[in-house]
């Protein structure tokens, strides 16, 4: 059964106001910018964003006023530093106040892993002595029932929807992801529903030819969106490189609320689709980011 939808339709149906949304889960690569921009265009409100190190997509969603709460390890601009919209929201409640439940990369991964195992929590010794457990009310400090030693209990976290950008998927949501994995699989397994955004839609046989590379169970997938270059300016291994300059420009232009609004008008609100975005980016820039040298994985035989 095909789950192919346009990005507009996928976001309309499966990312309602108030939803908790996990995205940007591979850390720097494969960030679903196209999905985030559509969320902004549809004016979604009161979202909870879940992620590890999150790059400027979180900053954009915050600046556009879509976000009520952040459950993440880091919010900013990975190659440039601070995220201006995040600072304005948390320091000045501009455009609105947001709640932050700070995690580390490990604890956000453990929270999703716990949900994926049906475990109410996973205990760790990370972050003991840090102020993070004192500021994040979801954590609990307790003694180990085995030896009485101090532990931090990280409770399971179940996103309403996880959005994953992948290299290829079939129409049913059986998807291959490779390269940097971050906490993508944990977030897919933990989620109630999953939106797959794929560079390529391929026949089912391409996916089932290599079931070990599948990221998770397609029965969780509610929508498959075919969106080439949908992760730009982040990288997609085997498809395009990271556009470092784009992050730099964003950082420079969004220092003021007015600058952010202009950037948003230019790159999100003023464009209806990812096709328009790519046309604006232009073929020269695409060419510069494209694959220069193919590096194919060694053959693997599943035969018998």
């Amino acid at each position: 059964m095909s789950k192919l939808l346009s990005m507009t339709e996928a976001i309309r149906r499966y990312v309602p106001d108030g939803a908790s949304v996990a995205l940007g889960l591979a850390l720097e690569p494969c960030i679903p910018f196209a999905a985030g921009h559509e969320i902004i265009r549809q004016g979604r409100r009161d979202l909870t964003l879940i992620g590890p190190i999150s790059d400027i997509l979180f900053d954009q969603l915050i600046g556009a006023g879509c976000v009520a709460k952040i459950q993440a390890a880091w919010v900013g601009n990975v190659s440039e530093g601070l995220g201006h919209c995040y600072r304005r929201a948390t320091e000045q409640a501009l455009p609105r106040s947001i709640v932050t439940e700070d995690h580390s990369n490990f604890t956000i991964g453990l929270a999703l892993r716990a949900a994926s195992l049906g475990a109410p929590y996973i205990p760790t010794r990370s972050l003991l002595g840090s102020d993070l457990p004192r500021k994040n009310p979801t954590f609990l400090q307790a003694s180990s029932p085995f030896d009485g030693s101090p532990l931090l209990l990280v409770p399971a976290l179940q996103p309403d929807v996880t959005i994953l950008h992948v290299q290829r998927s079939d129409e049913d949501g059986n998807a291959h992801l490779w390269g940097s994995l971050g906490i993508c699989q944990e977030a897919m397994l933990a989620a109630r529903q999953v939106i797959i955004v794929a560079e390529e839609i391929v026949p089912r046989e391409v996916i089932t030819s290599d079931p070990n590379r599948v990221i998770g169970p397609s029965y969780k997938v509610c929508a498959v969106v075919h969106e080439p270059w949908g992760a730009h300016p982040s990288a997609v291994q085997g498809y395009y490189d990271r556009d470092h300059q784009f992050y730099h420009e964003y950082h420079t232009r969004t220092r003021t609320p007015e600058g952010f609004q202009q950037w948003l008008d230019e790159w999100v609100l003023g464009l209806k689709t990812r096709q328009e975005y790519m046309a604006k980016l232009g073929p020269a820039r695409q060419g510069a980011l494209g694959v220069k040298e193919h590096r194919y994985a060694a053959p693997v035989d599943y035969g018998y």
């Binding site: 720097e28 880091w74 919010v75 700070d102 580390s104 990271r242 590096r295």
Partner: protein
């Protein structure tokens, strides 16, 4: 030979890596330090990256982020973030690198917020994997710009635990880490634009180990928010060798991270 402060910091960082060690590599300067150590005195060191990578060779191109495509190619393993941080939680990573916006005399790092917790004056990006590395690595190396407002008597928020604080139950230092339940570790070194500090594990206090060529103990004190304690063998930082500089400049020919 001329060199920039950041080049010297990369050299100091690389010297922390012993041959054969497993190193949790952070962003920016540690990426270069790993490459430098690998090509000089520590050819058998292994780099672990929180995006889920293990490498025993430096990437063949300059990295802007650890998830960049050149860092995947040639990796020994590309897996989930919690798999690699899990190895560190299990005690298998000898050395970790992190940066910070603020640090205090006990090596506690703040990358979360400045000012009031509920209404911060400056909201910083947060922990990333920093708090995990500070909690779980066997030794911690910290790299920061040296400015008086960054090296404070006490930070506003402890994101990444160093040696804690003295309290009614005992001193700072290794004893504090044991008290709160941290399994091991603690800051081994703080490398700044002006100096290198080591730490006294029994008190948890930073000791000025060396001041960089062109700087002085007085200048370091001026830019440090606590009264300096000197290591017994405090001296000038050994400058980069031409070979070290050559390797750094091969890795970062345009000075993206080192200019």
């Amino acid at each position: 030979m001329e060199y920039t402060p950041r080049e010297l910091m990369v050299v100091c960082a690389a010297r922390q890596i012993r041959d054969g060690e497993r190193v949790f590599v952070g962003m920016r300067l540690p990426l270069l330090a790993f490459a430098l150590a690998k090509r000089t005195h520590a050819p058998n060191c292994v780099g672990i990256f929180e995006t889920g990578l293990i490498r025993d060779t430096p990437a063949r191109e300059l990295l802007y982020t650890m998830g960049d495509a050149p860092n995947i190619c040639g990796a020994l393993w590309a897996t989930s973030t919690i798999n690699v941080i899990g190895l560190m939680a299990a005690g298998e990573i000898e050395l970790g690198f992190i940066g910070g916006a603020e640090i205090d005399r006990y090596g506690n790092l703040n990358t979360s917020l400045i000012g009031n917790w509920q209404q911060p004056r400056v909201r910083l990006p947060g922990s990333g994997g920093g708090a995990d590395i500070a909690s779980l690595a066997q030794r911690l190396a910290i790299i920061m710009p040296h400015e008086r407002h960054r090296l404070r008597e006490r930070v506003d928020f402890v994101t990444s635990p160093g040696y804690g604080y003295p309290d009614e139950q005992g001193p700072a230092g290794v004893a504090w880490r044991q008290r709160v339940g941290l399994p091991r570790g603690g800051p081994a070194v703080l490398i700044t634009t002006l100096a290198v500090f080591t730490f006294d594990p029994t008190t948890g206090e930073a000791l000025l180990q060396s001041y960089h060529p062109g700087s002085s103990i007085e200048q370091v004190q001026e830019q440090t928010g606590w009264p300096l304690r000197l290591a017994p063998d405090c001296a000038e930082t050994v400058p980069p060798t031409p070979e070290e500089l050559r390797v750094i400049r091969e890795c970062d020919p345009h000075g993206v991270w080192t200019s």
